[in-house]
């Protein structure tokens, strides 16, 4: 009879956690296509995540766009390239800032709520009860939440891009006396459609990561009510770290594959 023995070496625990996290991600990906789809849960979760993220996202994005505009504005003025402020700010916001802001907000506001919700259900044995009733908790609870956070991330990404660019425009034109026409005209001097695509793709992936990490920590919280609090905390921190890592990789790959417009 095979007796399972756990490997013991430094870092084994971290590897095991990583493996379980990926396993859950894979389960979610597979169960995405399993009927019946939990439409009701999905819609509720979409609504919930949207309602907790839209306002904070918009509020965070305005200063974000402004800062980029202000920084770039003073630099480009010294170089005499004021007409390119619009171009640079669009590039920065659409390609980099907006997926990240979106993901941070989805993870911070939506993910933490998902993690707390699932974590509380876990310690109250609701998840066990559901599994015992022959219903997969991953399919029933996790998949709709991950899908919802992906969808909301994509939609929010659009919102953030618009608000960010509008914020940049406002600050550039009103505070730095840039020319509205030049700002608008230079929009597509640097930026191109693939920038938008990669932005949306990043948002999609970040939404997935935020959802899976939150669900994973929620399904395996440390014992006790305090454990749920710790799990929420960890899920947000882990998601942030993963996001920046994935963002770095994606950006590097993207820059290698898609030639920049001016080169």
């Amino acid at each position: 009879m095979a007796t399972k023995s756990e490997a013991r070496f430094p870092g084994a625990g971290a590897l095991r956690q990583t493996g379980s996290l990926f396993a859950l991600g894979l389960d979610v990906a597979v169960l995405l296509f399993k009927r019946p789809f939990q439409l009701r849960e999905f819609v509720q979760q979409c609504w919930f995540i949207a309602s907790v993220t839209i306002l904070p996202t918009a509020l965070v994005t305005i200063p974000f766009g402004a800062v980029i505009a202000l920084q770039l504005g003073s630099l480009t003025r010294q170089l005499g390239a004021q007409s390119f402020t619009g171009a640079a700010s669009v590039l920065a916001i659409v390609q980099q800032a907006s997926p990240l802001v979106t993901a941070l907000l989805v993870a911070g506001a939506g993910g933490s709520a998902i993690c707390a919700d699932i974590g509380a259900r876990t310690i109250r044995e609701e998840i066990d009860a559901m599994e015992v009733l022959g219903v997969s908790a991953v399919q029933r609870l996790v998949v709709p939440r991950v899908l919802a956070s992906m969808l909301i991330a994509i939609l929010l990404n659009g919102l953030v891009s618009v608000v960010g660019v509008a914020g940049g425009y406002t600050f550039n034109v009103l505070l730095q006396h840039g020319t509205p026409g030049a700002y608008l005209a230079s929009f597509n001097a640097l930026a191109q459609m693939p920038d938008l695509y990669i932005g949306e793709f990043k948002a999609l992936l970040f939404g997935f990561i935020a959802g899976v990490v939150a669900a994973y920590r929620g399904l395996h919280p440390p014992p006790g009510p305090k454990g749920v609090g710790d799990a929420v905390n960890q899920s947000v921190v882990v998601t942030f770290l993963l996001l920046f890592l994935v963002n770095g990789v994606l950006t590097l790959v993207y820059l290698q594959i898609v030639p920049t417009k001016l080169s």
Partner: protein, 393 residues
Amino acid sequence: MGVEVQVENLTKSFGKQNIWRDLTFTLPPGEVSALLGPSGTGKSVFLKSMIGLLKPESGHCMVAGVDTVRCSERELYEIRKKFGVLFQDGALFGSMNLYDNVAFPLREHTRKSETEVRRIVLEKLEMTGLSGAEGKLPGEISGGMRKRAGLARALVLDPEIILVDEPDSGLDPVRTTYISQLFLDVNAQIDATFLIVTHNINLARTVPDNIGMLFRKELVMFGPRELLLTSEEPAVKQFLNGRMIGPIGMSEEKDSATMAAEQAMIDAGHHPGGVEDISGVPPQMMPSPGVPQRQGEVRRKDRVMQLLHTLPEQAQRSIIDSLSDEERTRYGVRERVVAGTGARGGDTNEFPTQEQGTVSGQLAENQVAELPTSRWRPTPGRRRKPRPGPPQQ
């Protein structure tokens, strides 16, 4: 008919800490079994292992031909539809009201229309005394109601095996009896196999057909109720009586120094705990009038009579005493007991034998259990004292 559960050499550890090892026993189909044991002996862990929520390191747990320890995820979800599980605090879904909670398994696993779902749900809610509370959220009701709602949800799919984790925790003695009565009625109606994990001695003495006890990481014994209730095993006796004297300590085990110190305390007049001397086999609870007879009980009687010769003497005596005259004829006990019964001056009914007149069907010739040629012989002197004496410690 309920399913049989065969547990073989099951061993479970959390990290380096062993919970229990080499559990081997069989839950007979359609019978009510109870698992006793001091707190922290892994009774709940055992329940969770049976349904595949926890994975023991070794051993098997065969339920309807599927090993829930090793089978695939898909098989596990299938086999779980045969289970009804009542968790300690009901484990209701906090976001749904009682009606939706009870309807949940029906909506997930059956294609019943909403009217039919409604009929079944209201029936189960009434059965558990929750009529009128279907709109309440689990957070708004008492622990006892949550427990009963959990039971209603566990019963809604007419499971073949029902696992109950501490039905008495959070319930008063009266409600505990009511819920025990409900278990027996359900058992009689759908002939499901029951496993009840409990500390409640009253429940353990009057409800189950079979009793097992976990102690010191092992199954001390498992068998017909008479076996454990008449047992002279110190841990079992101590547990049944709820005393401090015995091998069970505040933490899992006692060392001999503690035992000696406690014995000295008792000798000096300290109360050892427990109210009265609990021994002997009280009559088992019966299904309510109007509910069909429990098939499990009939099968059990045959089974027990077949393995009678393997049981200790006191258990044998208690079983023989509990037989009605008809059953004595059926199992061929009469001839040997006639003399004894005469000599006893008709004190057969010292225990009201609840089985009296309940066996109706005649078994085929070859299925009739024969009283084996055992060590047991009815000696009139012995039979004057059907109750085992006071605990010998």
